[in-house]
Symmetry: C2
Subunit: 332 residues, 2 copies
Amino acid sequence: MDETDDTLMVKAAWLYHVGGLNQAETAERLGLTRARVNRLLADALEEGVVSITVDRQLAGMVPVEEALRRRFGLDFCQATPALDLGLDRQPATDKGDRAGLSPAQKVAFRAVGLLGANHLRAHLARDEPATVGLGWGRTLEQMTLHMAGVSAPNARFISLMGSLTANSAFNPFELVHTLAKRTGGEGYFLPVPFIADTVEDKQVLLSQRQVAKALAIAETATLCMISVGELEESALLRRQGMLTAADLDSLHAAGAVGDTNGIFFDANGRPVDHPLNKRTIAVPFDVLRDLNVVLMVASPEKTRAAAALLASGIVNGLIIDGDAALKMMDRT
Amino acid sequence: MDETDDTLMVKAAWLYHVGGLNQAETAERLGLTRARVNRLLADALEEGVVSITVDRQLAGMVPVEEALRRRFGLDFCQATPALDLGLDRQPATDKGDRAGLSPAQKVAFRAVGLLGANHLRAHLARDEPATVGLGWGRTLEQMTLHMAGVSAPNARFISLMGSLTANSAFNPFELVHTLAKRTGGEGYFLPVPFIADTVEDKQVLLSQRQVAKALAIAETATLCMISVGELEESALLRRQGMLTAADLDSLHAAGAVGDTNGIFFDANGRPVDHPLNKRTIAVPFDVLRDLNVVLMVASPEKTRAAAALLASGIVNGLIIDGDAALKMMDRT
DNA sequence: CAAGACGAATTACATTTGTTACGAGGGATG
DNA sequence: CATCCCTCGTAACAAATGTAATTCGTCTTG
C-alpha cells in the first residue's frame, strides 16, 4: 500500500514536473482522475517528494553574509534575499497586530525556516549520529514544516528548555515531537515548566531524575538551533502571557534587551542579574558556549536582540532574514 | 542591469515559491505587474534559478538499477521511474511516426535528459578541470536543455564524432556549442563529416591538423556522454538520410544491431566488419574503453542495441528510461 | 528632430489549476 | 450484518496562471 502510493506519487510528479505534461494529461497517462493527480501532486510537494530550490547565490546577499560572518566570528552565515529595498510598507498596522503576522513577516518566517531546515537536514545526513538541541518559537516551528521527507532514525531531538503552559504549535514539546515524528528519530524534552514559580521550585524541578537525564543529553548535542526574542510588548513571551508588563519593565531596568530560551541578556549578550533569570529552566549559556549553536532570526524587529546575542559568543552560525541582515549592517 | 535582473528574479521566485504568495501578491510586494512576475518566474525556471527535484528513491527503481549495474559491471546505473506498468498504449501509431515523438517518448527523453544533466552537472562541479566528450542525438539534446544555470568556465566540451550535414538541434556541433555557451566553457568539435564518402577520403580528413588536435583532446576526456541508436527504419540515422535502406540491409547482414556515434556493432557490442564502419569518423571503441563513458538510453525500442553496447565493456555508467530498464530485465 | 525599435504596462482572454460538494464503493469495527 | 469511516470518482465552480494584442514611453539611430 504504502509503497504503491509513493510510487504513484513519484510517477505523477515525474510526468508533471519533468515530463511537462499538465494535470489532465498526467491523469490520462496514469489512468487516474485529474482531481486525484492534483491531490497527488499537492501531497508530493507537502511530503517533500518533490522539492523546489531557489538559487541563493544570485540573490546578492553573499557580501552581507560574509560581512556578518566575519564581524561576529561565525562559522557560517546565510541570509534570505532582501525584499524590502529599505522601505517598509504599513509598519504601523503590522506592529500592533496581536493575532497573526503581517504578510511580510510570514514570508520572512517561512524563508528562514526553510534555510534552517536545509541546514538541519544536512546535519542529519552526515554519518555520525546526531543529537539536536532545540529552542522554541515560530521560526523554529516553520523549520519543522520544511522537514518533511527526511529520514533520520538515529537522530535525537531534545528541547533546550522547559515547556510552555499554552500548547501552541511552537511549544518546545510540539517542536521536538514533530521533528521526531517526521524523521523517525527520538524526541526528548524537559518535563517541567519553562519558568518556575520560585527559585526554590526550580531547584526541586531540576533535581528530578528525568530532568537531569534530559539535561545531560542536551549537553551532548551535536547541533543546537535556537532563536531569539526581543523584549517588547509584542514579544512572543509577553503575548503568551509568560511575562507581565511589570516583568518587562523590571527586565528593562536590569538592562535586558532580549532573551533566548527564556534566558534574558543585556546588550553585550550577558545574562542579566534578575529574579526571572534565576527561575528559568533551560540549558545555560555556559553550556551552549561549548556546543555548536545556530541562531535563526526571522524578523527585522529582532536585530538589536540578535546583535546582542551574537556578541555573547555562544553562537557559531547565523541564519537570518535578508532585511534583518541589512538592518544589522546599518547599525555599524 | 544584469545583476539587478537576476536579483529581481530571485526575489520573485523566493516570494512565490518559498513565501507562498501568488503571482498577484508577489507583484504587489515588488511593485511590478502580475504579467512581469509571471515572466520572471517562467524565466527563473528556464534559467535554472529555481529547480524542481523529484525524489528518485521512492520510485521503486532501485532494485532494477542495482541489478543492471551488476549485470553489466557498471560503476553506477540510474533509471527514471517506470510509467507504463508493462502495457504499451497505441504502439502502432507511435512507431511509424516520422515527424515527431509520441507523448510517451517525449517524456522519456526529457526524463533521461534530466538525469544526464544532473550527472554532468555533478561532474563539472568537481574541483578538477573537466573535459567532456559528447555523442549526439535527441537524448543528449534534452540533456543540454537541462543544463541552464551551470557555470563551468574551465570545462571543455568536445564532440566524439564528425558532424551531420543537416543542422538539427541534436547535431554534435550544436550540442557542443550549446553546452559551451550555457556553462561558459570551451567547445571543440570535429570539423569533418560524420561519415566520409570513401575510405580514402576518411584518411585525408583524419590527417588534417585540426582534426588530429581535436581527437587528441577527446582522448583526454574525463567524462563521455553517449547514446545509442537501434538499427531500424525508424532510426535517427536513417531518418536523417545518413543511411540508405540498402545500407541498413547490408549492415543487418553483417550482424549489426545498433550504433553509437556512427560505429556499428553486433549483438556482443563488437564493431562489425562493414564498409561503413571504415568510413565513420569518430573516437573508436578502443579509445572509449579507457575513458569514463556514460550511456544514456531514452526509449524502450533501444533495449537490444543498448544491451549489445553494454556487453562491449566500454560503458562505465548507465542512465536509462525506467520502462527500457524493465524491458532489459525481462530479456533475462 | 523624426522614425523606428525596444521593453514594459495594460488589458483582455483562454487555459489550467485548486477546491468544494456529493455520492458510490470498500474495508474495518462493533 | 449494520455501521462508520475513509478514499476515490464525478462534476461544477472559483481562482490562478499563461499568453497574446495593444498602447505607451524611452532610447537609439538616421
